[in-house]
Symmetry: C2
Subunit: 311 residues, 2 copies
Amino acid sequence: MTTPSRADIEAAAARIAPHLRRTPVMRVHGRDLGLDLPLILKLELLQATGSFKPRGAFNRMLSTTLPAAGVVTASGGNHGAAVAYAARALGVRAEVFCPTITPPAKTSRIEGYGATLHRVGAVYDEAREASEARAAETGALLVHAYDQAEVLAGQGTVAREMEQDAPEATHVLVATGGGGLIGGIAAWFAGTPTQVISVEPAACPTLHDALRAGRPVPSPVGGIAADSLGPRQVGGVMFEVAKHHVAEAVLVSDEAIRDAQRRIWQGLRLVAEPGGAAALAALTSGAWTPPPGARVAVVVCGANTDPASVA
Amino acid sequence: MTTPSRADIEAAAARIAPHLRRTPVMRVHGRDLGLDLPLILKLELLQATGSFKPRGAFNRMLSTTLPAAGVVTASGGNHGAAVAYAARALGVRAEVFCPTITPPAKTSRIEGYGATLHRVGAVYDEAREASEARAAETGALLVHAYDQAEVLAGQGTVAREMEQDAPEATHVLVATGGGGLIGGIAAWFAGTPTQVISVEPAACPTLHDALRAGRPVPSPVGGIAADSLGPRQVGGVMFEVAKHHVAEAVLVSDEAIRDAQRRIWQGLRLVAEPGGAAALAALTSGAWTPPPGARVAVVVCGANTDPASVA
């Protein structure tokens, strides 16, 4: 299984740039979030479609010849919206399989971008099985939500932009579900002094459990971020990166995530979905304490939720 | 009445930098907002306190010796929140006079930052009279919401950052109420080829009416953006700038503003208050059409509203 190199991520960045936004980095006083350290925020929730996911989706779809049957995927919602958006931009059909926990903020995007939505199963992995069967049946290209090298390379472009825009960062906090985002980010920072820290809900502890077991293993799937961080286990490609290049895997409670969502609204006037607020929750809950002198960067990675839920 | 120079705005930028955020510029495909041109967005709604206002408030308060009685101001809400935030940071008392139309999203900020809130009058100008009487009584420093040169110079730092971060912009769309923001921006761009376009609700047409009359004149105050764009007339300081350096004064309907708020949420996952969405509404409603070859920048300047209102 090939893990992406810096060169792969550079190539991905060039491939996807015409289609996507360069999201901002913003520096803020921690006191506006109830913290006593300055923070660097990568505002990836402002990416087209409301999450980082189209980076990987476009890179996968632009790395091959797209079949006449188009593309098929499974998703808790954000990746499905990204594939739908990319398929519309590239002029191909898309079918997206979502579990029943996918919220309306996400299914409306998928359908709004013109994809065909199928609701299958209670959680992501059941939808994934249905999507794989469908791709085998139609000959469509399967665009995996996290476990493909091209997807990781696309997500890794987040780290490339952060290094350019905030070279002072010593630690980067990233939410982990299936691990495509943190896998891409850790692949970029491999061999640099920048430490990559994984943050997961205690209710979805995939990377935490995998690092302890020494390999991807099934974990429970639950809690308020299960629609974005709820695969049953991390991907094999990301694990090859993470076992060497993720410094720590921190767990946070659902209460800490809700509190972080409220702080992000109150202090930044941004709407982060639970999975998008999880990385900050590691700091605001005290689950992770930066070492002295650290310059901490947080990836705020998704905004597809009911905005009334954060006030 | 002295209008701010570029040097005044440079001095303001140095003065306020330790206290405030450098807000991001983001480039987006217009199609995500239903437009067929690329856009440059200055995301000033992500400034501390949720609007551009602390730039002017800090610059005014850092340009003088603060009296023991602290500061007094009147505001539709955003400027009051900014003065309260600056007073807390600088360790002085603040009293803020707001009219009854000021929404909870703004009064809760004013009180949350520790200022004393007074509710006086139906619209901003009645609160302003009360604040002036209070300042005369207590000896507190009056921090005007828009009609002081230091306030304009502070708001002009928005333009300085835009010029650095998006030098390709040929036209800048800015919402006008009392005119502090556009006055500062037009003062910065005076003598450059960059055109500054004013956008106001048709229900609050202060600059439109002033440019037609050749001087600040009273206008109606109404509509959904009256809490941020609802002074009765533009300030005298800003008018000296605007009569030479604002290229056009466009009006938009309340319906166009609501539609722009929805597009900003749908396409950008940002929550803009009505006054913050007004500038974009000039484009999305067709009230203003860019000339061929224009590179248009839009200042999105405030986010203090109920997030449920934009979905």
